[in-house]
């Protein structure tokens, strides 16, 4: 997030797109509700489903999946057409405005309405609302990024924020809501194929020299490594022979899971650190038992870039150990220098992180009580950064990047007439490894229920609770139908919480060429009623 969770209460308007905030980030969802109900903030919600936030929205733009760019360019069109832009911000803080404007002018509301299915009046009203209530905060999540145009979807949001001068101010900004408890931190400390810790590019010679000096070895060639989906395909091709997985469950979480299973089966040597025998661990050659987060000291970085300390509360069961200990022992056995892999406590690892990554430069365990610090935190006396891009963008001037509509990789057709989109529920988490082992949560939601609109259900003769088969070009899933008007007509919604009825059997692994993110949010399926329950 460019901004902080706390400053959202200062927002006069929200544009929330591709984020089911009250279910996926419930405590931020509470903040939104409070801002709307108590402060009278305007809420523009853009989502193909009538999620809970629709009840709080001033305007709900129920656009068709995969049409975010025309919708966002359409909002920009109206703002420019009605002269509601922030001219001073554009003049002093940005560049490439005129070139971008020429592209936006190709998206008048009547054209946008045809592509998105949103009424012209709503597009105009939403644009006015976002531009005239300042500060206005943009919030988004995987509904924006999990498309083959995910990168450009985010760019379109940044353009809107710059157009209206909503950057670098409390209550404004462009705020991605990060999914996992430490997805931000895993990126920050370099678990990405293109960057070392602190987002330092692996292709930068100065960066490589710095890490070569810090560690007593030669650095890998200045070539970006493989992303997760590319790794899977490389295993099938025999280019990747061994895989080491720490605490993830790609057998269920990756798109087109039948294909992913074939990839994992093709892997010659698979090692998994886990707390449970997950679907992925069941396929492993070696499984190493890990401590859960409450069984070790460590830090986690949340969606607002806040690095927070977690204390060990319990001993791990049996012989299970914290992952950092497992990794140290393995590295030494593989021949790594003893002195570079001997830590008596995670705080010593954080000292090393701080030494190699400038954005964490001032992070020390003793500074993290009681509420942590937000990066960038450059030095031990630096107080952290609650809001990014104040007065200046990281690159200097903000760049208006023109973005064009590009249809999703796989759209409904005669054979597969419905659009499938996937997501998660409040009561479960990701592949269910943890939440399906919590009695109360599993009691609340014990099975997959496929959301389908009543208009569609009636045509297919499906009633609420009926068993249905949902199939795509990649596989089929049997589950019960939940008939209600949450998805727009033509759209069905599934999760990937339930191994026995897994939405990811159906999803499309087409990738955004820049971000390499799969298009989970749009694929084509058919829906059929089953005459009898499955055996």
């Amino acid at each position: 997030m460019t901004n902080s969770i706390g400053d959202m209460l200062q927002a006069r308007a929200f544009l929330i797109i591709g984020s089911n905030t009250t279910e996926q980030h419930p405590i931020i969802g509470l903040q939104i509700k409070r801002a709307v109900r108590r402060n009278g903030a305007k809420l523009i919600l853009a989502d193909p489903r009538k999620i809970e936030l629709a009840q709080f929205a001033t305007i709900h733009l129920q656009h068709e999946g995969g049409t975010d760019i025309p919708l966002l360019n359409g909002l920009a069109y109206v703002i420019l057409d009605e002269n509601l832009q922030d001219d001073e911000f554009i003049a002093t803080r940005t560049e490439n405005f005129e070139a971008w404007r020429k592209v936006v002018e190709q998206y008048p509301p009547d054209e946008v309405s045809k592509i998105t299915g949103v009424p012209v009046d709503d597009i105009v009203a939403a644009a006015r609302m976002y531009a005239t209530n300042k500060p206005a905060a943009i919030l988004y999540a995987m509904g924006i990024t999990q498309h083959i145009v995910g990168h450009y979807n985010v760019t379109a949001l940044a353009n809107l924020a710059m157009l209206t001068g909503n950057v670098g101010v409390p209550g404004g900004g462009v705020n991605p809501l990060r999914g996992q408890n430490n997805v931000q931190g895993a990126c920050d400390v370099g678990c990405l194929p293109n960057v070392y810790p602190g987002y330092q590019k692996v292709t930068d010679e100065e960066v490589r020299a710095k890490f070569a000096n810090f560690h007593s070895n030669e650095q890998p060639p200045a070539k970006v490594g493989l992303t997760v989906i590319e790794m899977m395909n490389a295993m099938l091709e025999g280019k990747v022979r061994a895989m080491y997985i720490m605490g993830e469950n790609p057998a269920l979480s990756d798109p087109d899971s039948n294909h992913v299973r074939r990839c994992l089966e093709a892997c010659e040597f698979l090692v998994v650190n886990e707390i449970f025998l997950s679907e992925t661990a069941q396929m492993a050659d070696v499984v190493l038992p890990a401590a859960a987060s409450v069984e070790k000291d460590g830090t986690y970085t949340n969606t607002e870039r806040r690095i927070q300390l977690a204390h060990k509360a319990l001993d791990p069961p049996g012989q299970a150990k914290p992952d950092w200990q497992i990794l140290c022992e393995l590295a030494k056995r593989m021949g790594a220098p003893e002195d570079e892999w001997s830590y008596s406590h995670p705080s010593e690892i954080m000292e090393e992180i701080a030494a190699v990554s400038p954005i964490y430069g001032g992070i020390r365990y003793e500074r993290l009580e009681p509420v942590g610090l937000q990066w960038p935190c450059w030095a031990p006396e630096h107080g952290g950064t609650p809001i990014l891009h104040v007065g200046r963008f990281t690159r200097g001037l903000g760049y208006f990047t023109p973005v064009h509509h590009q249809p999703a990789d796989e759209l409904p057709d005669d054979e597969y007439p419905f659009m499938l989109t996937t997501g998660r529920l409040l009561q479960h988490w990701h592949t269910g490894t943890m939440t399906r082992r919590v009695g109360g949560l599993d009691y609340l939601v014990p099975e997959e229920l496929v959301e389908i609109n009543p208009i569609d259900a009636e045509k297919l003769g499906i009633e609420d609770g009926d068993w249905i088969r949902v199939s795509s070009r990649r596989g089929e899933v049997v589950a019960r139908a939940h008939v209600f008007d949450r998805p727009r007509p033509g759209l069905v919604f599934m999760t990937f919480h339930f191994a026995e009825a897994l939405g990811n059997v159906l999803t499309n692994a087409a990738l955004d060429p820049i971000a390499k993110i799969p298009e989970y949010k749009v694929c084509a399926v058919k829906v059929e009623k089953l005459d009898s329950p499955p055996e």
Binding site: V240, M243, M246, V294, T299, I307, L314, W324
Partner: protein, 137 residues
Amino acid sequence: MLHYDRQVTTICPYCGVGCNLNLHIKDDRIVRVTSFYDHPVNRGNLCVKGRFGLEYVHHPDRLTTPLIRRNGRLEPASWDEALGLVAERLNAIKAESGPDSIALLSSAKCSNEDNYLMQKLARQVIGTHNIDHCARL
């Protein structure tokens, strides 16, 4: 009488909001989860997962010993044996096919320190940039 022996503060293991959790522990079991009202992230609020979703920690399915596949089945093994096998096989594959024949998936569920060491293992010990995690999933 208090219904717990001690309290320990931690961070919620679920979503990216990063709510503060105050675990109430009795006889080495989590018996109650609360949160401090003055914490800037969640101000004492918790969702159903944060407040009631930590029971998995005590689940009997937890892995308690290393496992090695023998004759098609995963069987218990010692740490010494399991780590020895992993080190030997990874070094052998690296020697035969080069560092880029190995790929590592780190975890958005693990701590910064765990993740830092995973990428250090990839880059320093194995010698590959083939490291990613579920940020895109």
